[in-house]
Amino acid sequence: MSATETVTLTIDGVAVEVPKGTGLVEAALAAGIEIPVFCYEPRLGPAVGACRMCLCQIEPGPPKPQAACTLTAQDGMVVRTALTSAVAADAQNATLEFILVNHPLDCPVCDKGGECPLQDLTFRYGPGNTRMTFPKRTFEKPIPVSPLIALDRERCILCYRCTRFSEGVAEDGQLVAVDRGAGTMIATFGDEPYRAPFSGNVIELCPVGALTSTTYRFEARPWEILDVPTVCGMCPVGCNVNATTREGNVKRILSRNHPEVDDGWLCDKGRFSYAHLHAEDRVCDPILRVRRRGFEEVSWERALDEAERLLREANGRIVTALSGSETIEEAYALGKLLRRGLGAHTAFFPEESSDALDAFRVPLSAIRDADVVAVLGDAPVVERAPIVELWIKEARRRGARVLYELDEEAVRGAETAILVWCGPGGHGGATVAVLAQRLGLSGAFYIPETANGRGVCDAWSCSDDAESASPDPIGLLIVSGDEAAANPDVRALAEKAERVLVISMFQGLAAGWADLVLPGTSYLERDGTYINLEGRVQRLRRTVIPPVPDELAWISKLAERFDVELSPYPALVFEEVSAIAFGGIPFGEIGERSPLPAATGASAQIELGEADGPAVDGGLRLVRYRPLFSGPAVERVHELDFQRPQPEAELSEEDARSLGVRNGEEITIRSNGTSVRLRARLSRELRPGVVRVSDDFAGELKPAVEISK
């Protein structure tokens, strides 16, 4: 790459040299000067200059103030901001006065009050007084945009950030500006709610209090809260978030921009599902089975005695079902206790995992800069790792070819090509690595189903070296976490096990089939580390004190009874794991924006199991997927109910054409014996020969299906 061309310009008398193509707002920032903005947000695409807050006097140019955000730095440009130019100051003053003409003075009531750009900029640049003596306009409020978002039309300053996000970033095209001029209103179509996986971002984008979260409504003010930087544990992306807490409760989740991971976006699952911490059926005390069908809550002391008894009685015939949402420390602690203390080496992982892809490790942001992105595996990316879908969309907007079927020529011909595998047949990334190696790619991703499946697997294998055959019959099944407790395969194992110990947050999942239930905690209540799908080790922080002791605390107590040395502190446990698996990086150095470890050298030879995917003659192959808004935590957040999947089947456009099916038509999907009737949705992001249905509606369908109208 050649040295970047630079331009030199003068801003308020300060000469500054910036790379060519830098926006004026950023150039001013480089000179240490602020150009105030409302609508400008580089992540939303080209600037629109809607709010006029950035007016500056610029030479050469017309003899009137210009919107600085729409211009890029040019050589010899002389920019005078409101600091030095009376014309610009006057213009900015007038802009704010105009914005405030229609903006109500309800800051004490408004949720944005205290963290509001309009308040801040008015204070710094605005007129001290208003000449507006007429009554301000009023509208009915709040208007629900969706069960999660409330719109206050009076406060809206029509900066179009939200609609630009909807149309240009999430590309759902649902939030639009209806009508024109002063009557413009941000709205969805008719009475439909804003039903999209990324809808919550518009709340964060809104520079005033027009779009507010219904779940955070009137909950806290900015000076009463504490933002805890942590990482989202709802999907394998591991978006960096800030958990806003007040009085020991999580009140909202905000994104915390990690430019390599999430670019400051967050999906609704990560943003709103924190309410599961207060689920009605949260287990707060250990539950013990007494007699045949009776259960009673017992003290922790008693519960640990019982757990010890269960572990001893099983005599090493123990199977551990992990859910992939444990922290590395927890999984390691559990592994150390069971493997070193009891010689129970058998674990049931939620999915395969492999380190083969470490050779092709690149940050997620590399997708944006690729020329060709091949998305393989047939499962919808947005339902597994929503943010990855945003990166792919951005790549497409920047001119990348996005392939949904492997076109080897196109991939080989591209300067930079990225492979994203989402779906069955990936073998934890091993298949993908083989493919990437064959095609000579620089980067490839495999999207797992669980948030920390890879980390749990690594931690478990670090905890001991010995192996043993899986026990039969199973003396004790330990079910760790809610995802495992909800997994039908684990339930089937439990049928065969003599005794079952469940670690779970929710009574609804754990009650009935366990001999002992130990209360679990959520990712928001733990300290520890997660590995995301890139292979980045990220730090989770305890945002609130859980109502129960966390897993590490009692596992270490239990370990004492089996003479296994185990610290109750994540930092010390991590040190042990890190020495084996992560090159000894200390806990304290992971940091708030953790870096991506360098790619390892290409692994010599990757062994592959069976070929992927059963071939289907004639007919179509059914790919069922777990919808994004599902799982034990989401099911306990009723505000998210409207986001549950629709009864739809996704078809490729080609298949639809050959079947004569139109978008929105009812179709019957049949496989030997069973059939379901669903609405067809045509998708350009699906290869021919595949039909996609969410688990909620796929019923008993087999992989080979036929479709008729």
């Binding site: 004490p108 009050g113 009137f218 009463e224």
Partner: protein, 165 residues
């Protein structure tokens, strides 16, 4: 032996003279001296004339409070439960009187004149818990009354903001 033997006599003379003066001791619980009109005592929350609370639960008083003794938890008004005008009201409003330093910043910060500092200073209790005043207590008339001196006797200038608006 003191160098100036008359000094003690002089001192006692001062004491002796006081015997004939009128005492200035006030028998406090029996006699309550009027406070200045702008004396800052126990807080009051106010209502509008139509009975709705002036407080909207904005927490600005809590933000201004240097002793951090105010706790506000807001909630949304519903048609069935309208507590204040507008959308928001204070579901919980507590002042910890044992921490309050009676600086009056809450009064200054309040955008709706919902909280003022009254003249009552008799707020001792036998338990710390009883010193946490709830919203109901603050909205109600104080039980113990303290006399206030005649406003006209004191030179209280008209505040600037009332004069220039």
């Amino acid at each position: 032996m003191s160098p100036q033997p008359l000094d003690s006599v002089k001192g006692f003379a001062v004491t002796f003279r006081q015997l004939f003066k009128k005492p200035i001791t006030q028998q406090y619980p029996e006699y309550k001296r009027p406070v200045y009109p702008r004396f800052r005592g126990r807080h009051r929350l106010h209502r509008h004339e139509n009975g709705l609370e002036k407080c909207v639960g904005c927490s600005l008083c809590a933000a201004a409070c240097p002793a951090d003794c105010i706790r506000v938890v807001a909630e949304e008004n519903t048609p069935d439960n309208r507590v204040s005008p507008g959308e928001r009201y204070a579901r919980i409003y507590e002042i910890n009187m044992s921490r309050c330093i009676f600086c009056g910043y809450c009064e200054l910060a309040c955008p709706f004149d919902a909280i003022t500092l009254g003249n009552e200073y008799e707020i001792s209790e036998y338990s710390r818990d009883d010193l946490i005043y709830t919203k109901d207590m603050l909205l109600a008339e104080p039980i113990k009354k303290v006399p206030v001196a005649d406003r006209d006797l004191y030179d209280t200038p008209i505040p600037y903001y009332q004069d220039h608006s």
